[in-house]
Subunit: 391 residues, 2 copies
């Protein structure tokens, strides 16, 4: 530890880092609205109780049956169905109480100007009900569902409830991101990259010097590393993102905002398998469980560049790239084919049918069998130039 | 897309980003050594074949039986045992060929100055053996093992083989990291943070302005977010890292280098469960499967700050924080208790025994039941001040 005494404090420290006490919540203006909505919910319950009526409230139904495909807008939307949460209904009393409990927890977070993880919220509202051995929540899954209920009921974003999920995904490219006041030059992020936060609302994230022409979004971090090492984002003037599988809401919101606010096309490079197709589907028109969020997450103009089922012949690949489709893959592929937005799209019907006819799936990584940089130097550049993608 | 034409290219772009062609591999001086070792391995095989002897080579054994606990140094080390890979041995021929195949692949990577993921390496060396239906590898697990064999046989780091694993983990704090020539000010990384790369060798990562007094390493990104939001790294002048569970080699190497090169103590905040204890054990003295890497990864002076089994009473927690130990947890706890480095440590014996006596585990997140910032404002500061930790 001899070195410790000789270490210099960086000169920039004092000026660059604001003291914690002085930071004002960037959410202040949304907090008022969220707080008021929560208050209204609680007031309704109290009012009913005082006037001798049964305390209850309605929660929009988050299910396939209440999800509508808005063809003209190209996004999944939530329908009008709601279900009731009644205190004096044995099957609903528990959920009723849980909702109020989380409502209270969220009010506390707002009051303190802090955020909490989904796991944290579970613990925050967890206790044994007095005089019983009953816990308020059996597990986190129960808690997460109630938080989604509150989101849709209040029409508030999870971010507005001060709740965040696990962080995943990385970004580099021709853009500067301002995150909580810090300027992050994504052209100078080395081999590691900027970790995309779980909350990407304008209150915390702003953009500056957006010089990129488009976004290349890849499925996996290992593929992202290949593209970053080959400086693809520089030679092709783009932003390079990855979602480590199904992108989080944070990643989707980041892509969505860059697309909407800066007109950047979103080009996806995903595996040729039902999982890759599903990721694309979610990026493009949203998911059933988050249909109420489609407006701010879905990117109907997103493109699917590859891997394509035709690539086995088109790129003259060896049979080493083939991973045989199992029964679950085949079932899943057929389900995806039947999604309304794929069902009416001839190109997508052909694509999935071709994959089923092939009898195998293919991963982006398998292009390495051609050459290590085939994907960055040949495959993606050629497809981009030819605008050879599915939409 | 109207905005596209009016977008400004940032002025800094041309000067800040080197053109790809001009970049020289930072690995050049190591490459010569790795290439020579590979060549020697191949030469030995050829020589045997030409002189009519059986082609073979020896691979150090990576198993518990060949792992020694070096008590004085406080790290796990690999013993001297080796096992043979012989071409004319039915049980070894396949592995023999696979090793040479991957050796060839690595030579190609070195020649091109590129890196590849473990998955990429699998595909790179995957093919059907001519005239048969036999594939060179059944699956990636088989391929990964051969790559580890090559690491130990050559005494080369995986990084020197130009192979990287999945990236995970984030970092902020009072330090500037130079990653591939880019200066990353970890005091200005917003809510997202700097994504720790999978390769953290001095060739790609250097440190500058290390003003922090210590490193706080937390298990999960959600906990990290709480500490980052509360600006803990600033108020306590530290570096804040997370490994999203068991830290990758990249994260361990980053911690190790900061500890060794800058004398920064590494303080761990992990769950009070066998998994948390195991993470600590790996950070501290290495793992059996990577015992050959302990020298550059293990941090014998790492501290375990919490969560401690005593905290249930010490922090006056409610029973909501209790997660009952199942049989697997109990078995695992007993195994960990019997590790030589824990076996001779009375404090650790007491710690694990206390957890078993409690009959429950506890997560860091559960401290939220006290208060949302209890962990950042009370728990960790008090323990740090009292130096109340296990070592």
């Amino acid at each position: 530890m001899a070195k410790k005494t000789t270490r210099n404090k960086p000169a920039s420290k004092a000026s660059s880092a604001p003291t914690p006490a002085k930071r004002e919540s960037p959410w202040a203006h949304r907090d008022a609205k969220t707080g008021a909505s929560l208050q209204k919910l609680a007031d309704g319950v109290v009012k009913s109780a005082l006037s001798g009526r049964e305390p209850k409230f309605d929660v929009p139904t988050r299910a396939a049956s209440n999800t509508k495909w808005n063809k003209s807008r190209g996004i999944l939307q939530m329908g009008p169905a709601t279900s009731s949460r009644e205190l004096f209904n044995l099957g609903q009393a528990r959920n009723f109480m849980q909702t109020l409990l989380h409502g209270q927890g969220i009010q506390a977070l707002i009051a303190e100007g802090k955020t909490s993880s989904l796991r944290g919220m579970f613990y925050k509202s967890l206790h044994t009900i007095q005089g019983t051995k009953e816990k308020t929540f059996d597990d986190q899954t129960e808690s997460d569902k109630v938080l989604e209920d509150i989101e849709v009921t209040l029409g508030a974003l999870r971010e507005e409830l001060h709740v965040f999920a696990k962080k995943r995904g990385t970004m580099v490219g021709n853009i500067t991101v301002i995150d909580s006041g810090d300027e992050i030059n994504c052209r100078r992020m080395g081999s590691g990259g900027y970790a995309i936060p779980s909350i990407c609302e304008p209150e915390v994230i702003q953009f500056k010097d957006v010089g990129a022409d488009f976004i290349l979004h890849v499925e996996k971090d290992t593929v992202w590393q290949r593209f970053n090492e080959d400086r693809f984002w520089e030679t092709h003037n783009c932003i390079l993102t990855e979602g480590s599988g199904q992108p989080t809401r944070g990643v989707r919101r980041m892509l969505h905002r860059l697309h909407k606010e800066h007109g950047l096309p979103v080009i996806c490079l995903l595996d040729c398998d039902p999982w890759g197709h599903y990721i694309y589907s979610v990026i493009k028109q949203g998911s059933i469980s988050l249909a109420f969020e489609s407006e701010r997450l879905a990117i109907p103009e997103a493109r699917f560049l590859g891997i394509r089922a035709k690539d086995y012949e088109a790129c003259d690949l060896s049979d080493d790239v083939q991973i045989v489709l199992n029964d679950r893959d085949i079932d899943r592929a057929k389900q995806i084919m039947a999604y309304p937005w794929f069902k009416e799209d001839r190109a997508w019907q052909r694509e999935i049918k071709k994959m089923l006819d092939n009898g195998f799936k293919m991963e982006v990584e398998s292009l390495i069998t051609k050459d290590i940089s085939y994907v960055t130097e040949t495959y993606v550049p050629e497809r981009l130039k030819a605008k050879d993608w599915l939409s």
